[in-house]
Each structure stands twice: as C-alpha cells, then as structure tokens.
Symmetry: C2
Subunit: 213 residues, 2 copies
C-alpha cells in the first residue's frame, strides 16, 4: 500500500471512530482525547489529519452528506416515476440514518451545528432542491397535479422529513421511523396526487416501506 493510500485509510478510520464518539455523546460531550482512544491513535497522529474537533465534526457531516448525496444522485438518475423516487429517497435516507453510524452522527452534528463556527445549511438546501426536481418530474408523469406549488411543497416536505426523523430519534431511537414515514406520506399525498391516480398511489407509502424500509 502506498503512503497516500494509507493516509486515506487512516482518515476514513478516524472519521468512523469520531462518528462513534459524536454519535454517542454529541459535539459538546466529545473530546479529541476520546476520539484518539476510539481510533487507536496517538494525539499527534490524530492532529496530523484533523486540526480541531470542529474540523473533525465537519468531516463527519461531509461524509454523511456525501453518502446521502450518493443515494440522491443514484435515485435522481433512476428510470422510476418521480413520485416513486421521492418516496423511495425518504425511506432509503431514513434507513441510512437509522442503520449507518456515520450517517447517524452526521445528522446529529448537523442538528447541533449551531455549536460550530459555521452554520451547516447546504444539506437542507440540497434536499429541498432535489425534492422540487422530483415533484416537477411527477407532474410530467401525470402523478402530481399541475397546479401544485412545487417550491412550497418541497419547502414543506423536506423539513417535515427532518422533523419526523429527529422526533423518532428522540422518542424511539428511530425504531419507529419507517412507520412514521408511512404516516407522513399518507397525510401529504392527498395534497399532491392527481385524483384519477389516487386509487393506484394511495398504497405507495406502505409499499415503499415494505421494499426499502
């Protein structure tokens, strides 16, 4: 293995260790010393890769956002109808946050990012934009009504997802997240769906949860 490859691997291992610590005790509770122990590195080795706890927190947030964007990118290029992709994105993102420690820590740090010197706004803006794109596609597909204000819908759906996953995290450690997402979509879809498509699409949230949850 080249020295550069080793450095990349060490960096990834530090991010995983930092995610475990941030995920367990939050930004305020975590210390560089704890992260050293979790990563099995000396303080010198850790500081060689990350200059501060804040730099490390931003790296975890970036890693989570990258994984989520990877998923988003794959889904945006899928051939499925826009509305299917939009729901699938919510369920797959939910699963990612529920099951992947780096994603879970990244979301927690994003929520706590008021602790950082730079507020983290990009993830929120990216998801609202993706949501709007998929709603526009769903109108062309004939699933969503042409008179829906897609910008307003995206500005609501994306934060609603945020709130649902946060509250599910606080109350049940995200154990009930899939059920809550089914409920979320069952209350949002009637405002979006073309009446003639309702009978086909009303069961979409439950189907998506079965396949992707």
């Amino acid at each position: 293995m080249t020295q550069q490859a080793r450095a990349v691997e060490t960096r990834a291992a530090i991010i995983r260790a930092a995610a475990d610590v941030f995920g367990a005790v939050g930004y305020g509770g975590a210390s560089m010393a704890d992260i050293c122990v979790a990563a099995g590195l000396t303080k010198g080795a850790l500081y060689f890769h990350f200059a501060s706890k804040e730099a490390l927190a931003l790296a975890v947030i970036d890693a989570q956002h990258e994984r989520a964007l990877g998923l988003g990118d794959e889904l945006l290029h899928s051939e499925q109808p826009g509305l299917h992709v939009l729901l699938r994105m919510a369920f797959e993102l939910g699963k990612q946050v529920r099951d992947d420690p780096v994603s879970r820590a990244g979301i927690r740090l994003t929520m706590e990012s008021s602790n950082l010197s730079v507020p983290v706004v990009t993830p929120y803006e990216d998801w609202i934009a993706a949501c709007e794109l998929l709603l526009r596609r769903a109108i062309l597909d004939g699933d969503v009504r042409a008179d829906v204000d897609v910008a307003a819908a995206a500005r609501f759906i994306s934060p609603a997802f945020t709130g649902v996953q946060v509250v599910s995290g606080v109350l049940t450690g995200r154990a009930d997240l899939m059920q809550r997402l089914v409920e979320m979509w069952s209350f949002v879809l009637p405002s979006l769906v073309v009446p003639e498509r309702w009978d086909v699409l009303r069961t979409l949230p439950a189907e998506m949860a079965d396949v992707w949850g």
Copy 2:
C-alpha cells in the same frame, strides 16, 4: 422585597442571561464564566442557584416548556373550534420561538439535548398529545373527517412543525417561519378536512398567520 422574592428574581435573571448565551453559542459553546458575565454575578452567586451548566440548560428548557404549555393550556380551554385552536397553537408557538429569547434558547437546547445526560422527551410527547386532543375535538366540530387516524396525524403534525421551525431557523433565522407554517398547513389540511367544509377552511392557514403571526 423579602429575601425569597429576591432569590426568585435573581434566578429568573440568571435564566434570561443563560438563554442569551446558550441562544448565541449553543450548549457546547457556552461556559459558566460567560453566563456569570452576562448575568452580572460572581461565580459563587451563580453556583448558589445552579450547580452546573447542565442544571442551567435544563432550567432554560423548563422555562421554555412552561411558556409553551401556558400558551397550550390557554388555547386548549378556548371556546374556538378544535381545528382553529390547532392552527393557532402552531402560529403562536412559532411566534414565541421566533421572538422570545428564552423560548428560542429552550428550543435550541432541546434539539441539542443529546449533549445532556438525560434526553429531553416530555415536550415532544406533550405536543403530540395536545395535537391529538384538538383533532378529536375537530372531528366533533364537524371540521375533520371521522375516519382520520388522529393518533397518526398528531404523530406527524407535531414533528412536521418541529422540522419546519428548525429548518426555517437554520436557513433564515426564522424570518420565513410564518410563511412556511402557512405552506405546511396548506399541504396537511386536505388530508384532514371534511369535503363540505373545505371551501370555508382552505383559507384558515393564511387567516391564522394574519392574526397570530
């Protein structure tokens, strides 16, 4: 003024000062030393009232929750129809969080409460319960359909509100919160409202924002 009255007043002043500090820099960024300076007290005087930063954060969260519950209690006992009260609660709570420093800091600390040794779950549970109660009343009023799963609706509406106010806080410092709440309700109401009542109730979110926003 009696000594007890002075102690109560000092405690309230400390909570306001702590709210300013927590609100500005978050739990992780705040120190007891900063809060001493903001409150104009010696460290000894501060520690006489609050044993730790965590105790102070929990007191700010309690103060916010008390203000919100005071509003909730007043609204639950109002003579207005259930659906009106439910929307009014969202707009008035939003205004409280937007405009009152203690409420704003309390919400921020609740979101960051993963930093504390005890997770803060009561506010989430209280709002879901209040929401469910008002939806049941709205069914009796003839505004909400009897076949709506009110428990599921409350489990969605309350977290959706949380997400909307968090994202509005991150992206615009809550400057667009009222507009976002109007949008939220415009996408949720169609799932709830009795069809014959739709023409009367469809403008309710905008009307509520005009009066209470």
